[in-house]
Symmetry: D2
Subunit: 357 residues, 4 copies
């Protein structure tokens, strides 16, 4: 199922080595001024080849808007868009046609569909996230007009963890280094860890933290579409993600209730909370505090060394992937995390308009 | 939004102190033999008052089927059901009418809807999960016919953790103790920890682990409705949940790719994997291995002691909840985790029928 | 599929001779004052036994609200409701268990589901529309607050046609006669026609006209959910409906474009049209003029006389239905037509809030 | 809302004079062999300039498949496609920027969205139906493999009516004349009627009949998504449509029940009906007989002569459209009617797979 969202809704298409990746954004309100350069900037943060710790594939990933924007403003009609695939070495993959790469989607796609576009993982490739970044960038522009800011950063690579809270960091500095960690010392160690993985023809996982400020109280649709449930659903749908937690998360479950509860206090700007273990969401609805969460990314399954596996006939085989691949997905996944959060929030922004008479 | 699922779909209704909790199961295939006693058994596992470590409220929670089942068999038409609310002491809550309890949904519901049923938390009460347990029990009966078994258990209470893998446990023994931990020694320590919290008029959180065996390869709907994304969405929608991880989860992100990849091996029963860091899901589609995950539950926000807070007018206030409340939600949440997993799997079971020509 | 609507959404359940008919209204905005007596009044317009030209079955059809309304006001949470089935003579139907009644749903339900609740048609009975009337009555109350009035009336019974336009009728007089035709002379002839059908143990069909005034310009969701397309979908889902047209309808297709176009004119109250062949909808979006349409109802298939048919084994058989049945569904279908229109309009009212920034 | 269908689902985009018209087909089963030439052939039946009774605009309308098909076979992933807009004379429309054309969507789009792409009607242009024809053609190819044949034809132009039943016509001859009426004598008179309208700079409406053979018993999803309700919804969403009826339709409501009922008879090929007033659908579910229906198309609103109107400021104005326009939409709408029927049936085909255990 390739649609995301209830009102503000992305439907995406495209395989790694097909003609194009693209999508349709339906439900974007009319009257939104769109800056294509901001969309392209987010795509550039996602694109391969942007630094020596990412794959050296050069994908230009230029977005073409096909509909829905007239004289720079959304018209309320669907926004079709497309990014043509270029510089794709399909030949790299012909030797994988009959093999199931370990911990990839090759086997499961064949089991589900009985047929598979084996070139670069086809639809299961992370190139698919290009469409998410485009749609998320449109959503960001809508939310920015409401004073809402969405920022993600790499908070762990392998065992190298950024120990500080996001509150003690300058999130605007995230883009100042290639690993997208807003603490230069930790960033340096993360980069070394990724370089080490690359030298070993191996890969490394980690954690991305997301933070949203400026969301007013009242967004979220219990009982099933709680704001954090939709956010978690969005994150878990990103390639390689293995876990999601928000607010105090897994660690917070070790606290007692009297430690964990966020005490309400009256302030000049309305009701606030002393602490924010709730992560800005209570009962599935935003309470006006910062929303923050963590996303776990597994180490990428594509290794540039021999691995045992089976072929499509069920026989033992050896797979040896060539080509240009990332040793660590985290730096390029930062804009994807932001994009998916933006889609969730844009949707709930619109849904919040129909809660009351 | 109070509907869950795409084909096999629950729509639920009901407040804690309203007339009834109930729902409609739409899309359950015709021809399924339903044993009402099994539904009631799951409700009894969720009900309060079942042991000294749960609330002493006596809620009988008897399910009444209103439609959709004829001569014990589903007819393909919607299954309406209802559980009448009884033994509800609305008076307990009249003093909470003008207060926002810390880390509850009182404040956010008021912000969203401008009106609130303050009796026992209204719709935000965990009594709402009764409808999930009923629908999940129907889903379980459908899945059982396919050889699919869903089992959850308490794997951590506060800091008391069950260190063993689910593979080294007898999950059929989970129901043999009141905390629902399939290791009697750990269960004993967990019970002590809950008793301690109760004595302190405090609460404690923890973790539930879920395991599903018997799911064939090929279930899941990428790119957005990956099997684990729908599962995470389901879990995050349960009251008090703060996090979700599947397979190797957050810890697995510390491994290198060569450690984390699950090597395929040919076996007499088809293609299997040597390890299962993937948690039975690859590329968002089941691969035939066990599916397992963890869910983080925060300590319950309702404390039987004084807390500072604000009232609905924004003034400082003190809240002092009376009544009968759980010091720990974990034991009663086990059937809820199972129910939500069952709903996800029943839905994907049906969706898997339309993947191929 | 038993849910209707996108934001304002009814999910219904219940069979003719089951425990209850009911439903869940999800997405009704919070803060709406609900008058249960108005709901009951609409149910009473639908109920059997209300006059000598309808079936003499006495169904009290009392609505019970189970959730979602607190102190007389909607809370934004789902409104569960139920109407218990009483005075049902299941025995009347035991002889139909093995027969397929002509032009009923007996055969097709068996083909689709492989199992069937044969008592009174089960889910295919028009008793199912009770849930629509309840939800529609809630929607009407929301729309009334916006100055929107929904009125339907019987405009043809068999060949007896009300020739006047709705503009030349006093629609408030519709309830003044038992056939619900706002022209007393025509009503008299219609009643005679229905009495004649009853005497012949036969049935008769006809047409209901619906009119809505007060809808502002701007409601409707092209390209697929055009306002008239959703309205037509709603009408075609009512039992026994065979056709739908709006505005100039089928007859209007005989006009030339220069005759058919509705010329815009400036007025003190904004832009209006000289004529209204468009039926208040242009390009799928309301233009502020009256919305009007016609719905064709076939003669009821249940005849109180012998008919040839086949049994469930495929053998020739004779069916001879006993019991109390309407010779004409039209008078009782008037509130159903209104209810379905109300559901469509309430939904589009809410959707119209998210069209623009 | 620009998505159609529940499982087999088209999401479309594009304006008349934008970069491209296109869409995404999600939920098409894997393993379907696609013949692009058949898609192009359906587009050619819809395209302008195909005869002297249609507009002389030359739109090549070449479909480009962007994803979802690999080696000529669907992979189960979304099928993205696009048709570039060419030969669009935007200049033709600059004089319409400030005018509301009578009975067009100009006024209502402005009311709804507050902004409008005025070039050629933007999204409200019938060029949008290109995406429907592409998706419908894919659906047709899926259905053809099941022995299902979908055929539409022009059965009335203005007052010129084809009196014969579809059963007495050779529907394969529909394409033998430019008006797409399978009776050459009537076709001749229809063509004259359209020529006459064109000479008068006027337009003419009419009726299209659709027929589907080969649908097995058991498709349709009561109570709301009855097969004919989804079909009617599909038809009413096509530009210029004012009405829909199936089976005996409006005329059938004049019959008595004993005349109208379709008597079941046992045959060597299973249970059939003697007559087919039901139009192949009973209780919202197909019964195995032919499905047939009629669709009313109003005369096109674009006239090549002066008309009074108002401008966007609410002042009186005169509109005088230039350019190349059809005097009658019927011949080109035939493949659109077929396409929308195919989408409905493909969706219900897949839904029918989940009705029973």
């Amino acid at each position: 199922m390739n649609s995301f969202g209830k009102i503000f809704r992305l439907t995406s298409f495209g395989e790694s080595h097909g003609v194009a990746i693209g999508g349709v954004i339906d439900g974007c309100p009319a009257g939104l001024k769109i800056d294509i350069k901001l969309i392209q900037a987010d795509l550039d943060r996602r694109k391969p080849g942007q630094s020596h710790i990412t794959t050296s594939r050069q994908e230009s990933d230029c977005v073409e808007i096909l509909s829905g924007i007239f004289n720079g403003v959304t018209t309320g009609t669907p926004i079709g868009f497309m990014i043509k695939n270029k510089d794709q070495h399909s030949g790299d993959y012909s030797n994988l046609k009959d093999l199931y790469r370990p911990s990839h989607a090759d086997f499961t796609y064949d089991q589900k569909y009985g047929v598979r576009d084996y070139r670069g993982g086809g639809r299961s490739s992370a190139r698919e996230t290009i469409a998410r970044v485009v749609a998320g960038s449109v959503a960001k522009q809508m939310l920015a007009g409401l004073g809402i800011k969405i920022q993600a950063f790499v908070s762990r690579v392998g065992e190298i963890e950024l120990e500080k809270s996001y509150r003690d960091l300058d999130l605007d500095s995230t883009e100042s280094n290639i690993v997208r960690c807003p603490d230069s010392e930790t960033a340096g160690r993360m980069i070394q860890r990724i370089e080490e993985a690359g030298r070993n023809h191996d890969t490394v996982g980690g954690v991305i933290t997301g933070v949203v400020s400026g969301v007013p109280a009242g967004w979220g649709e219990p009982v099933f579409n709680k704001l954090h449930a939709d956010l978690g659903f969005a994150m878990l749908g990103i390639n390689a993600v293995k876990g999601f937690e928000y607010g105090s998360g897994f660690e917070g479950t070790k606290l007692s209730g009297s430690q964990h509860n966020d005490i309400f206090i009256p302030t000049g700007e309305g009701i606030k909370t002393l602490t924010n273990h709730s992560g800005g969401v209570q009962g599935g609805i935003s309470n006006g505090e910062d929303i923050y969460w963590k996303v776990a990314f597994k180490p990428i399954a594509t290794l540039l060394k021999e691995q045992n596996t089976v072929d499509v006939h069920g026989n033992e085989a050896v797979v040896n992937v060539q080509g240009r691949h990332d040793p660590c997905v985290l730096p390029r996944a930062v804009p994807i995390v932001e994009a998916m959060a933006a889609l969730v929030l844009a949707d709930h922004c619109l849904l919040s308009r129909v809660s009351k008479l």
